[in-house]
Amino acid sequence: MIRYIIRRLLVAVLLLAIISLVTFGIFFLLPKLAGQSTDDLAARYLGREVTPEGLAGVKAKLGLDDSFLVRYWHFIEGIFVGTDYKFGTSVTHCPAPCMGFSYRTNEPVFDLLLDRAPITFSIAIGAAVLWLLAGVTIGVVSALRRGSAFDRGAMSMALAGVSLPMFFTGLVSIFLFCRQFKILPTPRYEAFLGNPATWAQNLILPWVTLAFLYAAMYARLTRAGMLETMGEDYIRTARAKGLPERDVIVRHGLRSALTPIITIFGLDIGLLLGGAVITETTFSFAGLGQLMLQGITRSDLPVALGVTMATGLFVIVANLVVDILYAVADPRVRLA
């Protein structure tokens, strides 16, 4: 078990190195490959008042003329031990964990990330709980009552669910619930610590919108898995030895049908942050996804880079945790 965990940890660290290098490459090599000179990049930073002196200053400040690896090393150094940023003649020390400064507002990127993260996580966690519960329950009931009205209705809904873009369901739900029927307030983020009740009330629509898509996928997957498992010989054996049907379904059927679902859940947690960008835009929540979009549209590369890196880190850690939990639950995994 210890050896398994160590091995997974090493893989995670390696992955982190690869991902950070690739992300850094996207932001700093790709424009160069596409034929943009460092002057073009510096001009984007300057905005309207482009002068030769300004360009030279910006290039020196941002280290645009340094080689890729030097800049990557500078960035990594900043995260672990902090680094110095030269602004003209003055030098600003940026203590670890430093991810640079926003080109536009000069705020430290790390602070921006910390600021926005709670919003994105609030959306993601609530949605994940909701879709896992709803998706698995609907899938199980559908499988057990295969062909019934419930099954057909739920599966039609699920098919509609995977075919509806999240931003459309989001807009329609705001229109219906906040404007037409006025059941809910127009969602806007309130801190959890302030008042958990208003926090949840404001988040219901984003949760449901995001969860609807995933719940539909999980219902379809769970149903297929349950149908297969319930046809196995050991289910017949369990019934034959007189177990109550409830135990047969939950302890023998569901437990085995859920294993692949958990794997997919681990993967989806990571993808969820991508989905959160759309949810945040739809509901105008200022989370990490909005920060990312802002970074891109305003050519604020350090901010966009910071969000992408943070997401990569989160995904790798989430997968590591799922892998380890999985190995605890299913001993066969450790040997693979």
Partner: protein, 331 residues
């Protein structure tokens, strides 16, 4: 999957007279697996319905833009400047005999024209991106599955990494840092080409993983051994022996990948990093509608429904195709 030996449908071949005396000749007609799949598909009304809608959508995207007029023609006279919404039509949508789906805001451009032209971009991008993803996915999937060893480990791990990452974020990053002109292209052409590349590049692992799995089991089959024992080299086995046996999963997953890519493109356009205004795109229209849907809900409704109907039709057809081509599948 086709069987290694094709059973031809000719009636004379399959009729030893002694056995057949008194048997209806049609009853034992030989059928290829492709014919059987077609028969199964024909019986699936829902899938056929989806297929017909798909055909109509393609037709609309091809000939529609010539029929509906300029999508960027403003009709300021139809907009009420005080309330900033269309003056006429049900629920102030501007729906009339000239504008079947009303007009948008604030310029009063014809919605039907924008949706039809949006279909063109949506379908072009999702089709070409799917082709790119299928080519990459099949190539790497077959190579990984057939060669095994470190080649397989490398490709399979790469696919795992791709699958585990929020590709939407990476796609946004890529689109965002990409300059407005490059490789001799600029403007819309470059955007479309770049979107095709980004979407295709990020979705190949989905099909790659499936093809790899299929190849793993196919390579142990006798006809591969036979080819190898006759001295066939790897490229011949990969593309002449294995590939023809993979057409069923390729077809099914390509069909199911198109709707995913339609949503991918619409999401990017919705987020403002896809097709650039004023070029019409469904995602872009929803983005514009986001600000004004309270006064003009039709502006949000029609593009959303366009995406929904298109994606649903592809999903229904793809599901039916999978059921028809996979004899083991059941519902």
């Amino acid at each position: 999957m086709t069987a290694p030996i094709e059973v031809s449908g000719s009636e004379t071949e399959a009729q030893p007279d002694a056995v057949l005396a008194g048997v209806d000749r049609k009853a034992i007609q030989g059928r290829s697996l492709g014919q059987i799949a077609w028969l199964r598909l024909k019986r699936d009304k829902v899938a056929i319905g989806g297929g017909i809608v798909v055909m109509l959508l393609i037709l609309m995207a091809v000939v529609g833009p010539f029929l509906v007029g300029d999508p960027n023609q403003p009709h300021n006279d139809l907009i009420d400047p005080m309330l900033s919404r269309p003056k006429t039509g049900i629920m102030h949508s501007g729906i009339s005999s000239h504008h079947w789906l009303g007009v948008d805001l604030p310029a009063g451009r014809d919605m039907l024209s924008r949706i039809v032209n949006g279909a063109k971009y949506s379908l072009i991008i999702s089709f070409l991106a799917t082709i790119l993803a299928v080519v990459l996915g099949v190539f790497f999937g077959v190579v990984a599955g057939y060669f095994g060893g470190w080649v397989d480990t490398l490709i399979a791990r790469t696919m795992d990494i791709f699958l585990a990452f929020p590709l939407l974020l990476f796609a946004i990053a890529l689109v965002g840092v990409f300059p407005d002109s490059a490789f001799g292209l600029s403007g819309n052409g470059l955007r479309v080409a770049f979107l095709i590349f980004v979407i295709g590049f990020f979705s190949w692992p989905y099909i790659g993983r499936i093809i790899r799995g299929q190849t793993l089991s196919l390579r142990e089959r006798e006809f591969v051994d036979a080819a190898r024992s006759m001295g066939a080299r790897a490229p011949y086995i990969l593309f002449r022996e294995l590939l023809p046996n993979l057409w069923a999963p390729i077809l099914v997953y390509a069909t199911l990948m198109i709707p995913t890519n339609i949503i991918f493109e619409a999401s990017l356009s919705f987020l403002g990093v896809g097709i650039k205004a004023p070029t019409p795109s469904w995602g872009g229209m929803l983005n514009e509608a986001k600000e004004v849907y309270e006064v003009a809900p039709h502006f949000m409704f029609f593009p959303g429904m366009a995406i929904f109907i298109t994606v649903l039709a592809f999903n229904l057809f793809g599901d039916g195709l999978r059921d028809a081509l996979d004899p083991r599948s059941s519902r």
